[in-house]
């Protein structure tokens, strides 16, 4: 029982790294129907914006985080305005290609500005350990990341559910046409979701870089979370978060019991099983087509 508890806790920690990226992916997919292959690049850019604030501008850790969030959100809105808005209505493959290109351009821009050297970010939390019930030990940093992500995602859900802007986002997500009919500015709302998505991914980018090192490895977050959103459901925010935890638990369990080389195998077998039983994901919406 203790071993299972340990795997669950490790999965929660790992899942909290994936959850912001997968949530950002789902928000974009719901609001604008775009499957964004640049999500990892958003996390990458966000982490470098944090580095800019913390190391170059010398801001304290929390202030640098806020700076990175605001700057990332602005980048997301600007990207939507410059690149995405003009191609809305194009065939999905065109939009997908634009996001792939966008990822490459963001990567190149980051390397041009900051170079390709590895950078090291330091958190004010020590690497000291915290004993949690069940005889499991976790690091202060991991607990801080988990709590931060939980608070931010909970706040996001509350904003989407109870605020006027949240209702606008949900309305545009359900039907941009109908939302426009009722006076919602769909373009502006979708632009906002791009900012939101970019900012969410930047949280994961910073967390990854603080735990490890800031380099192009952050880009991998974008592809790592795809199984999470497919398992959870492409259009479900709760599904994205739960899918991320499932992904984290699955990889942790595979690593501990079978060895790290089996973690991808376990994840993708799980993915195939979910797709066979519920092709739209555990929490996704079943789409009906009338012929």
């Amino acid at each position: 029982l203790q071993a299972i508890w340990r795997v669950l806790l490790l999965g929660l920690i790992t899942g909290s790294l994936y959850a912001p990226v997968s949530s950002g992916l789902v928000i974009l997919y719901r609001s604008s129907g775009v499957l964004n292959f640049a999500q990892g690049a958003f996390a990458f850019m966000g982490a470098y914006l944090f580095y800019l604030a913390a190391s170059t501008l010398g801001l304290p850790f929390i202030a640098a985080g806020i700076f990175a969030l605001i700057a990332s959100a602005a980048c997301g809105v600007a990207l939507h305005w410059l690149l995405v808005r003009p191609i809305i209505g194009q065939r999905p493959v065109v939009v997908v290609m634009v996001t792939i290109a966008l990822g490459s351009v963001i990567e190149a821009v980051v390397f041009l500005i900051w170079g390709t050297n590895q950078r090291f970010l330091h958190a004010p939390f020590g690497s000291s350990s915290v004993h949690v019930p069940g005889n499991v030990t976790l690091s202060e940093l991991d607990i801080a990341i988990f709590l931060t992500v939980t608070v931010i995602l909970t706040a996001l859900v509350l904003v989407l559910k109870y605020t006027r802007i949240g209702m606008s986002i949900r309305a545009v997500s359900d039907s941009p046409l109908l939302a426009g009919y009722y006076g919602r500015n769909s373009g502006r709302v979708i632009g906002l979701t791009w900012g939101l998505s970019f900012a969410l991914s930047s949280i994961a980018g910073v967390a990854y870089a603080v735990r490890s090192v800031l380099d192009s490895g952050v880009l991998d977050l974008g592809t790592l979370v795809f199984p999470a959103v497919i398992i959870g459901g492409m259009d479900s925010l709760a599904g994205a978060a739960i899918g991320s935890v499932v992904l984290g638990v699955g990889t942790s369990a595979a690593t501990i019991y079978l060895g790290g080389q089996w973690s991808d195998f376990v994840v993708y077998v799980g993915l195939l099983v979910v797709l066979a039983v519920r092709p739209y994901g555990i929490f996704g919406t079943r789409e009906l087509a009338r012929l």
Binding site: L10, W81, L82, P86, E107, S127, S139, S252
Partner: protein, 415 residues
């Protein structure tokens, strides 16, 4: 509406063009980073030569993509040394023209195209810079046909041998680091039963290293309590750290790259474990040890550290800083060593020097003293293409607040 979209597209297009032109400018700087004057051909291809004719040295490395931090560090190290040699009058009175091309972090086709371009169009006599051994293996048959020397930092003993004749290692052969790691580890374990945990990256060479470490440990009567491979894309090592902790291991021996080393070290230490971590040379970057500040993390290295003493290291530090490059960047010193080895070969080859003459000169180099840039002198002969013969272990010294050498010389195993 239509006007607005056109205007947005114009702004986006202009931004992309600006970035593209910046990239292109950066690339052209790369291509001429160390050149003085050149007509583009190698010394060998020219019948009437002048002292301004250069030796053309090519590099195919990862300048973009996920391994760009390694490729650019290699390039900056090599460029710093070639610039220095050119400033001292070149080799045999001729400058070196250094051209670095991008393999897009392991794209075999891109690497092959770049290699063909360097050899056939630019007239490169010698190639270096690869980050991945699988790219080296893919390029090696072509280089062997063309008789073009390959000076490589990713050392694979299965291609750096007398059968190939053109591949010369300028770093430790990673799958032969087992004996050194296990012997050093034996100095860090106290009396009583020794329980070893082994983690290696999931590559061919490191999987071999993992098996050899396990065999060496068992031969010492130690108990191997955990033996796993880590996916090259692993973004989290907390599960591995937890598995090591719960295995009851008294020492960790492995081959983790610098990213995974950081994740693993932080995760394991946060669990309260203080067991010694002994890692292979792939995690031996000054910046990594500096960031972790873990006095119980020991890394094997065939290259010197910028914190070492000696005039060659001091010169390296000075040249890198003059080039506005980071001397502490992982793999920068490897690029510098590749350049030192290449220059030694060119010196021995003389002028003019054809590719096949250079292969002969490299094979007959014997022992090259690098003055501390590598821990051991570099050695080549018709039966030894691995270059380095061993290395030392480094760890973070908390008193002096920097990584320092903590062991004597440990040789690599025989191929």
């Amino acid at each position: 509406m239509g006007k607005r979209i056109r205007w947005q597209l114009f702004v986006a297009g202009a931004a992309v063009m600006t970035i593209a032109s910046a990239c292109s400018s950066s690339s052209s700087q790369t291509s001429s980073s160390s050149s003085s004057t050149s007509s583009g051909g190698s010394g060998s291809s020219s019948s009437s030569t002048s002292n301004s004719d250069p030796y053309v040295v090519g590099a195919v490395t990862s300048l973009s993509g996920s391994l760009a931090f390694i490729g650019n560090a290699l390039k900056s190290g090599s460029a710093a040394y070639y610039n220095y040699v050119n400033s001292q009058g070149g080799v045999n009175g001729h400058p070196i023209k250094f051209i670095a091309e991008d393999d897009a972090s392991g794209d075999v086709n891109t690497a092959l195209t770049a290699t063909h371009q360097l050899v056939q169009q630019d007239g490169a006599l010698v190639l270096s810079g690869w980050v991945l051994t699988n790219i080296e293996s893919a390029v090696e048959p072509y280089a062997a046909r063309q008789n073009v020397s390959m000076v490589v930092q990713g050392c694979d003993p299965t291609i750096a041998d007398a059968a190939s004749k053109v591949v010369f290692c300028a770093s430790l052969p990673e799958n032969l680091e087992d004996q050194a790691e296990v012997q050093f580890a034996s100095t860090k374990v106290s009396s009583g039963p020794v329980k070893v945990a082994i983690l290696s990256m999931d590559s061919v060479a490191q999987a071999q290293l993992e098996k050899r470490i396990a065999a060496d440990a068992k031969a010492k009567g130690w108990q191997v309590v955990l033996q796993q491979l880590v996916p090259l894309t692993a973004s989290d090592m907390s599960a591995q750290a937890s598995a090591v902790q719960s295995s009851g291991a008294t020492i960790f021996i492995g081959s983790l790259d610098s990213q995974r080393e950081q994740l693993f070290d932080k995760s394991l230490r946060s669990l309260g474990s203080k067991i010694p971590i002994v890692n292979y040379d792939g995690g031996a970057a000054l910046g990594t040890l500096d960031a972790l500040k873990d006095p119980d993390l020991y890394v094997y290295s065939g290259d010197g550290f910028p914190t070492d003493s000696g005039s060659a290291i001091a010169l390296y530090d000075k040249l890198m800083k003059a080039a506005k490059a980071d001397p502490a960047a992982g793999f920068a010193i490897n690029g510098y060593l590749e350049a030192m080895v290449t220059v030694a070969g060119l010196k021995a080859c003389g002028w003019p020097c054809s590719p096949s003459q250079l292969v002969t000169a490299m094979t007959g180099l014997g022992t090259v003293n690098t003055g501390g840039i590598s821990v051991s002198p570099v050695k080549y002969s018709s039966s030894y293409y691995l270059g380095l013969t061993g290395g030392k272990f480094y760890a973070y010294n908390t008193q002096q607040s920097k990584p320092l050498v903590v062991s004597g010389f440990y040789p690599v195993a025989s191929p």
